[in-house]
């Protein structure tokens, strides 16, 4: 029963946060100084034409009406028309989202696989020279600007060595029949490697440090000592008991990391001209394409919020103390 109540209040909180973010977004985009259409109104337009254009985007109505229209549209999944592309924002976002998700998940999976193993290893080698040297090194990767790391990798592996292409998702002129066809092609993967590596190098620090400190804590637990007294092998003790328990919070941090990563994508996608949500957001803001910027922002926010929720749920599922209460 309490479980239902907890889930219910968590969903209510989710709805509140969503509504608040949506409203902040509306205010941000509507209360900005200047006419939002300024960039798109040709000086040769007559006043009548200008007003017609304003009316077309609903900008002639009072603010509260605009807000209601905006909420109504959102509820129907209607994100409006891009000023620049003259096409529905929703469609544009749907074509970009997969690129962003592929980049995010491939880099995070690499980062977590490495971070978990390295973190467990460093916990096991606590106090050794390698641990003492590795921790500052890991902290340093966290201190790097992601886009700068991307620039360095790009300069070395693309411009100097010529191993990988410099940007985009596919060779010029290459055509693919569908998602799967594209994403499994060698062409795509060679484009993916550098941006994914950039994000992965930056992201591995979180799971690594988390795993290490959790392992250090768990190794002191009675059940680990008991596993040794039972004469179980070192592998069983460290992997099946210590690591399995230390892994719980690391796994839930994955969902939160997805949210963070989407934000980091904004810069890295720009460096690698990766046609994803983040780069689109930057371009749309730079071009004062409000509906598109708003849509991209909303999509990113939605993923962040859902991932925060997923982190909670994941914990509940993975930890028998919660799932079998």
């Amino acid at each position: 029963m309490t479980n239902f109540k907890a889930v219910g209040s968590r969903l209510l909180q989710l709805a509140l946060v969503l509504w608040a973010v949506v409203t902040i977004l509306f205010l941000m985009f509507r209360l900005m100084p200047g006419n939002p259409m300024a960039a798109y109104i040709d000086p040769t337009f007559t006043l009548e034409q200008q007003q017609q254009l304003m009316a077309q985007f609903g900008l002639d109505k009072p603010l509260w009406q605009q807000y209601l229209i905006y909420l109504g549209n959102l509820l129907q999944g209607e994100l409006g028309q891009s000023f620049r592309y003259r096409e529905p924002v929703g469609e544009r976002i749907w074509t970009l989202l997969p690129n962003t998700l592929v980049l995010t998940f491939s880099s995070l999976i690499i980062a977590y696989a490495f971070g978990i193993l390295a973190g467990a290893y460093l916990a096991w080698r606590r106090g050794s020279f390698i641990e003492q040297a590795a921790i500052p090194a890991v902290l340093t990767t966290r201190a790097m600007p992601e886009f700068w790391l991307g620039m360095v990798l790009l300069a070395i592996f693309s411009f100097s060595l010529g191993w990988f292409p410099a940007g985009g998702t596919r060779a010029p002129g290459a055509e693919y029949s569908g998602f799967l066809d594209l994403y499994t092609s060698r062409d795509f993967l060679s484009h993916l490697i550098l941006p994914a590596a950039t994000l992965a190098i930056y992201s591995q620090g979180l799971p690594l440090l988390l795993m290490r400190s959790n392992m250090l804590d768990v190794m002191k637990e009675d059940f680990v000592t008991m596993a040794r007294i039972k004469g179980l092998s070192n592998w069983t003790v460290v992997v099946r008991h210590a690591a399995r328990n230390a892994l719980l919070p690391v796994m839930t941090s994955f969902a939160i990391a997805v949210g963070y990563q989407l934000q980091g994508n904004v810069v890295v996608e720009s460096v690698f001209s990766w046609p994803g949500l983040g780069r689109e957001l930057v371009n749309a803001v730079a071009a004062s394409d409000y509906p598109l910027a708003q849509g991209a922002f909303l999509m990113i926010a939605l993923v962040v919020i859902l991932m925060n929720l997923l982190a909670d749920l994941l914990y509940a599922v993975l930890d028998p103390r919660v799932s079998h209460a």
């Binding site: 909180q13 600007p145 992601e146 886009f147 620039m151 250090l216 949210g259 730079a286 922002f297």
Partner: protein, 304 residues
Amino acid sequence: MPEIAAPAIIKPRRPNILARMFRTLRLPVNDPFAVAGLLIYLVFIATAVFADQITTHDPTEILYTPSYDLAADLRPGQDGFIMGTTSLGRDIFSQLVYGSRSALLIGVTAAFMVALIGSIIGLVAGYFGRLVDAVLMRLADIAFGIPFLPFVIVLAAFLQPSIWNVVIAMALVLWRDTARVIRSQVLTLRTRGYVEAARVAGSSDFKIIVRHIAPNILPLSFLYGSIAIGWAILTEASISFLGFGDPDSISWGYMLQDAFASQALAKQAYYWFVPPGICIILVVSAGFFITRGYENILFPKLNR
């Protein structure tokens, strides 16, 4: 219960304010990495302060070679330019030195704002509890739902691009982490004997907060402030790199944007885009090292 009687009997000593502050802040001077971090900070602060004396050129001036050609894309050492020049003929070394100014300015102001707002909200929420707490913590939930970098980009782009707008945008979102931690700390402090005692003795809320609670959360605020310095510098770099930065100030992020847009990667001009990145890493990781030293003091269990 001896805890209750103690504060009434022991008169708080008042040594000079500076010594007290240092003790309250508990600077981690025993941790070698933290000391290294503090030293890096000192070097950068000195660089920022004496930038006018250190630099060889005006960082925004377009320079010419002795033969009256535009001093563009010169390699380090060529024609006396220590680290070479940009594609528009500006001195990279001087830009790098001036970059420390905006980095420190933005880092410190943003960190101060984040720590201040976060601490106050956390303190108020934790101390007064109930409705105040519920409202403030829902606000924190909302702040957690806002994608940070996109938010800063949008705000920085729509308000006029300036360092202060970046700082404001950061403060508006990043207070959430500090607030949550401070709040839970206040919740435990509130149950301590001496706080209870002060309340029973009729001290005002304000007095209890200032006397008994604030001094105890100060190190934690400082810890989160020093984390925020790194975040602020990284964020400013990202914003500048994307072209939404303050056009009138030379920052490391601006240098990287300039380099990227001027094809420095294709030109193999490592001397141009590597140093600003190294500077950012040094300052930000210095913050991390100090932070880590702090954590070892505040949470000694992590020590072993």
